[in-house]
Symmetry: C2
Subunit: 356 residues, 2 copies
Amino acid sequence: MIPYKKLEHFTQEVFTSLGIPNHVAIIAAENLVRADLRGIDSHGVARLSGFVRLIKSGRINVQAKPNITYETTSTATLDGDSGLGLYVANEAMKIAIQKAEMCGSGWVAVKNSSHFGIAASHAELAVEHDMIGLAMTNASPLVAPAGASEGYLGTNPICFAVPAGKYKPFLLDMATSAAANGKLEIAQRKNVPIPTGWAQTVDGKPTTNAHALKDKGSLLPLGSDTDHGYHKGYGLGAMVDILTGVLSGANFGAWVPPFVQFLDVKQKVGEGIGHFVGAWKIDAFQPASEFKARMDTWIEGIKNLKKNEGIEEVLIPGEPEYRAEEKRLKEGVPVNDKVMQDLENLAKELGLKWDY
Amino acid sequence: MIPYKKLEHFTQEVFTSLGIPNHVAIIAAENLVRADLRGIDSHGVARLSGFVRLIKSGRINVQAKPNITYETTSTATLDGDSGLGLYVANEAMKIAIQKAEMCGSGWVAVKNSSHFGIAASHAELAVEHDMIGLAMTNASPLVAPAGASEGYLGTNPICFAVPAGKYKPFLLDMATSAAANGKLEIAQRKNVPIPTGWAQTVDGKPTTNAHALKDKGSLLPLGSDTDHGYHKGYGLGAMVDILTGVLSGANFGAWVPPFVQFLDVKQKVGEGIGHFVGAWKIDAFQPASEFKARMDTWIEGIKNLKKNEGIEEVLIPGEPEYRAEEKRLKEGVPVNDKVMQDLENLAKELGLKWDY
């Protein structure tokens, strides 16, 4: 178990040692390690070495100055200047919040950015301003549209963060695929099959092979098959790609570059990867205090429902992550051997201290 | 086969005969019959007698004057004055479009409304203004949150409409449940079982019984079970309820009144049912002409994907509905016997002519 502050501090040092300004490194480290803290291990320090490779290959600009290229009272398009998505998307959200403060809502489409970590890190910035936050990103094309046998969409997550009164914020942060790639990786490590409905073979056949992606298969959209509405998961992932990629001027569809290596990208339809963030100010619809009391009633309504056999509690979106956070704040973050080795190697490579 | 214009005209006459002003009846009839035209038979004239019952019982105010109760530059809350949702949501969308024209985006939360037909009727108003349209509504609690064995959310649809260049608009209009109630009704009529993953029994057990709802069971969220991510469908349906119900001042969760009879509603947490509509102006992010060319590239990318065996074409969201529309514009709308009987009865009851 490693105290999360140690992970955060080390991550920050990694970034600054590569030439990233301190104020950027602080935000990026907080946002990366928040994933570890919340139990989403696939998106935390496990990805740090990937960021280092991108920076060293010059694909991430350490001196990036995100700049607004297009703007109205309630909207903006932000050029991320090839910066760290972990930072760029936070800046975008701050612009959206300013706009929402002024005119009730604010929306920022971001191009020329990179992987932004967990979407929640950006969406939830809105909550302390009594706003509902939204964050989305596109990603490399691992997910096949309904009826296709090759990937065109990323796992394209959608996140909504909504303040409540007595309770923690409602926090929905979900991939639009049936299962995130991280779940396949867990099955690979355990050497167990995956449920049908997560992935298909290169020929578009159902498969339980956890290595389906490596064998040129693709992930399936939320809904998994025709009978269970996978055209809906496809449609949602498509909508995320349109807002984050098509609308911002970033790459979209098959052209979105993968997180770590950009070798396969022969063609471009835009710049970098794209995000879309925004905020609705609650006071722009009804008094925030009334809204929060209504959210409490809404949450209590869920908690009072009859439960299925074996279910102790019906959870509100965000609760699993908050509970992991509470636990890991006390006990530290479990980091697996492979990631530990990664961090040690990074320390050696960059001349940093890593004393675990 | 009945020419859709006949259905539309009859619907309009039904509404005006009940005291609804002509300009309202025209919009309401267009929006109701659009469902029949697009092949979504469950949401068209099949629901006309339900509206008549609501109007006759005084639950829908025929003289409704929707009015803004709360407003900022980019947002508004609209009180539907207990009017026809088919009309109220259209008015809300027009306000959103005006706001988006002014400041880049516009958002209207609607309370005190009623069933609004297909969400597409409202979202797609934005498209001709070179905007991306969004429409959502809540509905009576048929869908169980993940882990619960009773309904709390409606089938809570989400619709996005996006203009393209050479191609028809992208039009995603989806329930956030695994299957809409209309699909269960079809299975009931055919007397066939439903796939597992659509519904559960009153005890929260999987079922293939098409009559599960009548037996006090509930619908399942998109994703259908734990393995296939039904917490995501639950989260999306919840988000729709929060924006349409909690934020607007309408009823939400278990308190949303059913479409036709209000007998079961003992308690209220708000007024009527709620909608949430909005628009992003494309020119507020990038020139609309460039965006539309990019949408064409995005669509062509989908069309060029490798297809699964037996699949002739990978469809873009909206294409099935546009194809039904093209066919039914030429050939007329097939109306089943039960609905024909309904319409005849309505004609008799209201002293109207119905010559089919």
